[in-house]
Symmetry: C2
Subunit: 213 residues, 2 copies
C-alpha cells in the first residue's frame, strides 16, 4: 500500500518495480482490448500507470513486448477464469457451457456500460495476422480453451452421462468456441446481450435433442 | 479506360472524379479490413489511389466518412455477394449454408495467401464501440444478413421441406451468423480453414438430425 502511494505521487516515481510492471500491464490490457492495440498510445499508458519513460522501456523495450505480456498474463487468464474453470468445475460440459453464457450475460447486464466484446477476440482479430509471435500466442490460448472443453465432453461421454453421446468432442468444442466468439462480436455490434442469450439457447437445444434421441 | 490511364499518370491527376472516388474506397476497403482502420494512414491510401490531398478531402472530408463509405459500399456488398445471394438462390437454407461455407473454404485455399478473416467482423470489432454512426451501419449489415437467412428458413418451413421444422428461424439465423463469424475469426488466428470446415460440418449434422427426427 505504501508503495502504491509512492507510485501515485506527483513525481511519478516508484520503488516497486513489480507493482509498476503490473500497473502497466493492467492499463495496457484495458486499453488494448477495448480501444485496440494500435489506437493506444504508450504515452497514455505510462501516465495512467504513473511510470516514467525510463521505467516503461525498462520493463517493455517495445510496444510489442507489452502486447505479448497482455496476452500471456491477462488475456489467457481471462479465458481461464471465464471459461475453462467454470466448465471444468461444472457437473457436465452442457451445464458448464450454459453457466458460462449465463454468467457473462448477467455480468454484462449488471455492468450496464456497454459490451466491449471478448478480450481474446478483439485482440486476436487485430494482431494475429500481423506478427508471428502474436499469432502463435493467440493460437495457444484458443487451443487451450478448445481442448479444455473437448476434454470435459470426453469425460461426460466416458461417464455415460448421455448428453454428449455420438458427438465428436473436438469438433463440438471448436463449434462452441466459434458460436460464443461470434455471438460476443454480435453483442458488441448491437450493444445488447441478445445474441449471447440466443446462441446459448440454440446450443442448449442442440445438446438436449441429442440427449433425447 | 482512357480516364483510368489519365488517373495513373505521373502527375496523379484525374478528370474522372467517380473513378477516383472508387479507387479511394477500394484501397481503403483493402486496407481497413486487413490492416485495420486505425493502422491505415490516409497518406498511403491517397498514394495508392493516385489522388491529390485536395481530391481526397473533396470526396472524404474526414477519415470517418471514408470508413462509412467502405462499410456502405463495399462491406455490405461483400456480405450480399458472399452470403445473401447464394443462400437465397439455393434450393434450401441448409444447402445454401453449406454452399457458402464450402465456397469460402475453397476460395481461401485457392488464394493460399493466408486468411484475412471476415471483412465485416474485422471492421465491426474495431469500430462499432467507438462511434454511433459506425455502430448503426454495422448493425444494419448484420441485421440484413440474419434476416435473409431467417426468411429463407421460413420459406423452407412453409414449403414443408422438413429440414428446418420446429426451428426458430430468427434464433437459428443468429446462431449460424455467430458460428460463421467465430469460425472465421479462428481461421484467421490459426491461418487455416479447419475451423470453417469443422463448423460447417457441425451445422450440417444439427440440421440433418432435425430432419431425421
Amino acid at each position: 500500500m505504501a508503495q502504491r502511494t509512492a507510485a501515485a505521487s506527483p513525481r511519478g516515481r516508484t520503488n516497486d518495480p513489480e507493482g509498476l510492471r503490473r500497473r502497466l500491464v493492467d492499463a495496457a490490457y484495458a486499453a488494448f482490448t477495448t480501444r485496440g492495440y494500435h489506437s493506444t498510445a504508450l504515452h497514455d499508458l505510462k501516465r495512467q500507470a504513473g511510470a516514467t519513460g525510463g521505467a516503461l522501456s525498462y520493463h517493455f523495450p517495445t510496444k510489442k513486448e507489452l502486447g505479448l505480456a497482455v496476452l500471456r498474463d491477462r488475456v489467457a487468464d481471462a479465458v481461464e477464469e471465464t471459461w475453462i474453470k467454470p466448465v471444468l468445475s461444472a457437473a457436465t460440459a452442457a451445464e458448464g457451457i450454459q453457466a458460462v453464457f449465463a454468467g457473462i450475460v448477467s455480468e454484462l447486464e449488471q455492468r450496464g456500460g456497454g459490451v466491449s466484446g471478448c478480450p481474446l477476440n478483439n485482440l486476436a482479430l487485430e494482431l494475429s495476422r500481423e506478427d508471428a509471435d502474436f499469432q502463435a500466442l493467440v493460437e495457444t490460448i484458443f487451443a487451450r480453451w478448445r481442448n479444455a472443453l473437448a476434454d470435459k465432453i470426453r469425460a461426460d461421454q466416458s461417464a455415460g452421462a448421455g448428453a454428449m453421446n455420438g458427438l465428436d468432442p473436438d469438433a463440438f468444442a471448436t463449434f462452441v468456441v466459434a458460436a460464443y466468439s461470434g455471438a460476443m462480436a454480435m453483442a458488441k455490434v448491437s450493444q445488447s446481450t441478445e445474441p449471447l442469450t440466443v446462441c446459448a439457447g440454440q446450443l442448449a437445444k442442440i445438446i438436449q435433442e441429442r440427449r433425447v434421441s
